[in-house]
């Protein structure tokens, strides 16, 4: 499905901004699940591009100014056209870290015996580096049931265990719980940040799901959308993946000055 995406991030500051460094994970890449027809990113300063540890395209810019410049506003834009192919299974490139790496706990998705116990209702612990797809989907549904989607119920620092104990969260939390549970049972898993197109679910335009490893030896992975308890399909556009949200948020940075920051994000997705 051809989709046109526009993503605007608007930062307003109550005082002059003196320094800002922003790293952006806002560039989708072509791959087995999608073809990027065109894409561009605009920022207040010159962008420096790199490929990060997980094969994502990352761009950074730095702003340096003085009080006298009185900069009170920064705008970051990303837009382009992506053709989604509805492919949920794929093989990792050689250059990506070995699946074993994704067994490691990360600060937002640590394995925990509580999650292991919970996850065993749907799937047994890993024995030979392979995973059964149906069992994984069952696990996804289980997580969706246990961590119900509730807007604004958490914040960016909520860990998987905290969200699980709270019983609710946003798509980010559901993804973290799935990742942490998989890791707890010996299944390499990682976080995926992206866009989701559904005319009646505009809140999910910015969305998160998971990759779970089906076969360690062959580096074969599958993408599962926990919020919708299904495999990813043509409605999903991949932006970036990493150990958890912290590894690939749409934007991450530091600043000096600026006073209070208020952030507005607007994402529109339309079929072409």
């Amino acid at each position: 499905m051809k989709l046109l995406i526009k993503h605007t991030t608007d930062y307003r500051y109550s005082a002059p901004l003196r320094y800002a460094l922003q790293t952006l994970w806002l560039t989708p890449q072509s791959g087995p699940a999608q073809t990027v027809n065109y894409w561009s990113v605009g920022a207040p300063e010159k962008l420096f591009k790199q490929t990060d540890a997980f094969g994502n395209t990352v761009q950074s810019y730095t702003f340096v100014g003085t009080e006298a410049d009185n900069v009170r506003w920064s705008l970051v834009n990303a837009a382009g056209e992506v053709d989604t192919l509805g492919v949920a299974q794929f093989t990792d490139a050689e250059s990506l870290p070995h699946p074993y790496f994704f067994l490691r706990g990360t600060s937002l998705a640590e394995p925990h015996f509580t999650l292991a116990e919970f996850g065993r209702q749907a799937i047994a612990a890993s024995t030979d580096g392979t995973a059964d797809l149906q069992d994984l989907l069952a696990l996804g549904a289980l997580v969706m049931g246990a961590v119900s989607y509730k807007k604004d119920s958490s914040h960016v620092t909520t860990t998987a265990l905290q969200a699980f104990n709270a019983g609710n969260g946003v798509c980010q939390d559901q993804a973290h719980v799935m990742v942490a549970t998989c890791r707890s049972l010996g299944y390499p898993a990682r976080y995926v940040s992206g866009y989701f197109y559904a005319a009646n679910e505009p809140d999910l335009a910015s969305h998160a799901w998971v990759d779970v490893c089906l076969n360690v030896a062959t580096r074969h992975w599958v993408s599962i959308d926990v919020t919708h308890a299904c495999l990813t399909d043509q409605r999903h556009i991949r932006l970036a993946m990493g150990g958890d949200y912290n590894a690939c948020p749409p934007a991450k940075g530091v600043r000096q000055g600026g006073g209070e920051e208020s952030l507005t994000v607007v994402i529109t997705i339309e079929p072409v």
Binding site: L21, T23, P97, V254
Partner: protein, 500 residues
């Protein structure tokens, strides 16, 4: 139960080893009282200059962290030239192989493909940094400064054999004590340096600066090198400040640096100055709050991306910890064979990896005779010394090992060599080790010797300064054919040595 002990100075109670003879003759002539006076003089000077080590967790009456002097013992540890020559070759070989290994781990991973090392040990190692995958560093050198801990232990016949105890490839410290100890010895006992031909070490800062400059990004004409320190509350701060001053370069903290347009700058009174090489004494985790620990104030936001772009050099590189882990240590001899096609010159201590069922079984059956170490421990903490432990301590450790076998390794208790040391009651043997500092730049080089650490408690094998160890000056005697001729040669040599 008596074990053969190897004493560095005495082959037997009435036979002094050849390389110690000149020194021992001098020592025998010194009255105890005059040596005691020199000890006090040394302590006073060290304290005034502030060559201290902040001890974690202790506070004095004003609530400030305690600064303790690292005890310095006046009796040097002497190694004859031919022994050092072999050790030096072995160190060059080992560090070369380790750097090849780290490069391999972050590139083709040939050693994993050849099945020599299990993949999980790399990828599940917390020190493996995926950010370094495919990143090319200047000269393919990752560990520019390597501290290789060496011990000597007697074999069955009583001959002393050198073993590598541990590789330190992240932020090895202690070289400032090596340099200050030598300065102190030359100040207190200038006559010793005319009688003994001791290889000088004072050029270490020069070699270090040369190594750091050589690691700069290729296009930089006159690289700006800085030392990055966590600050004056860090236990090794004295060393950071000392080395910066000796090399004539800036000592910076994270707050002095910022990233702009994909380069690193430091804030100076004349405006921002670009930084090309950072000799960082800050752990990987704290280097960049955007990439690693978000709460760290010791690093510089955005540093990782600048580093990966090749616009700044870090010494040592990020991710070297993948090679100095205790779980990787047993494989180092295999690395030497795999990358260099050579037999290892320096031996490893036989090691049992509890992650292996066989080794675990052996370890649990022999806890009282083994030294068991936490794979991720450091500084002598998290260690069981079987022969010196109580029943209760052994049982506690047994439980810990059973709960997490992959977290432990075990080694036979080495009877570390001893060296005569000043103690309450006079002079007595105390266990020592050696840490040479190997520099890898355009070539692999080092100053002769290193830091000798001594366990001051009778029978103790724990030499770490944070747990009450001390240091000694380390002498590598220069090779000499004719003894008498060398006496007169060294007379004139000592003039220039003394004024260093």
């Amino acid at each position: 139960m008596s074990r053969p002990m190897f004493d560095e100075m005495n082959a037997s109670p009435d036979a002094v080893r050849e390389h110690y003879q000149i020194y021992q003759r001098w020592l025998a002539r010194q009255p105890l009282a005059s040596m005691q006076a020199r000890r006090e003089e040394a302590e006073m000077i060290f304290r005034r200059v502030g060559i201290t080590f902040a001890v974690y967790g202790e506070k004095d009456e004003d609530g400030a962290g305690t600064e303790r002097l690292i005890p310095f013992d006046l009796i040097p540890r002497i190694i004859p030239a031919h022994e050092w020559a072999t050790m030096e070759k072995g160190l060059v070989q080992r560090v070369t192989a380790l750097n090849r290994f780290i490069h391999d781990v972050y590139h083709g991973q040939e050693i994993l493909k050849a099945g020599i090392l299990p993949s999980e040990q790399i990828f599940q190692n917390a020190q493996f940094r995926p950010e370094m995958m495919g990143v090319d560093v200047p000269g393919n050198i990752y560990s520019h400064i390597s501290g290789i801990d060496i011990v000597r232990a007697p074999d069955a016949a009583g001959n002393g054999e050198y073993y590598v105890l541990e590789d330190n490839l992240r932020v090895p410290s202690g070289v400032s004590y090596m340099l200050e100890d030598r300065k102190m010895m030359m100040r207190l006992f200038p006559e010793l340096f005319s009688e003994n031909r001791v290889a000088p070490v004072a050029h270490y800062p020069d070699l270090l600066l040369e190594t750091l400059r050589a690691s700069a990004p290729p296009a930089t004409a006159d690289p700006t090198v800085v030392v990055l320190t966590p600050g004056m509350y860090n236990s090794a701060y004295f060393e950071h400040a000392f080395l910066a001053q000796q090399m004539g370069i800036e000592l910076v903290e994270g707050q002095d640096l910022f990233v702009k347009d994909n380069f690193v700058y430091m804030r100076t009174t004349r405006g921002p100055k670009r930084v090309d090489v950072i000799y960082r004494r800050v752990d990987d985790d704290f280097l960049d709050p955007l990439a690693f620990r978000p709460t760290s104030t010791l690093g510089c936001a955005g540093l990782l991306n600048v580093y990966r772009s090749g616009n700044v050099a870090l010494c040592n590189a990020i991710g070297t910890g993948v090679a100095d882990d205790k779980s990787i240590y047993p494989y180092v001899p295999k690395m030497i064979e795999f990358y260099l096609g050579e037999k290892p010159i320096l031996k490893n201590v036989p090691t049992y990896m509890c992650r292996n069922a066989e080794d675990l079984k052996y370890t649990l059956a022999n806890l009282k005779d083994l030294v068991v170490k936490e794979v991720h421990g450091a500084g002598g903490y998290g260690m069981l010394v079987g022969p010196a432990a109580t029943e209760a301590e052994i049982e506690d450790f047994r439980a810990a090992v059973i709960a997490n076998p992959a977290g432990y390794i075990a080694q036979p208790t080495l009877s570390l060599s001893t060296c005569p040391t000043y103690v309450e009651s006079g002079i007595a043997p105390r266990h020592i080790d050696l840490r040479p500092f190997v520099l890898s730049g355009k070539e692999v080089q080092m100053v002769p010797g290193g830091l000798t650490r001594v366990a001051l408690k009778d029978g103790s094998l724990v030499v770490n300064s944070s747990q009450g160890g001390g240091t000694k000056d380390t002498w590598i005697l220069e090779a000499t054919a004719d003894q008498s001729q060398s006496q007169s040669q060294s007379q004139s040599q000592s003039q220039s040595q003394g004024s260093v």
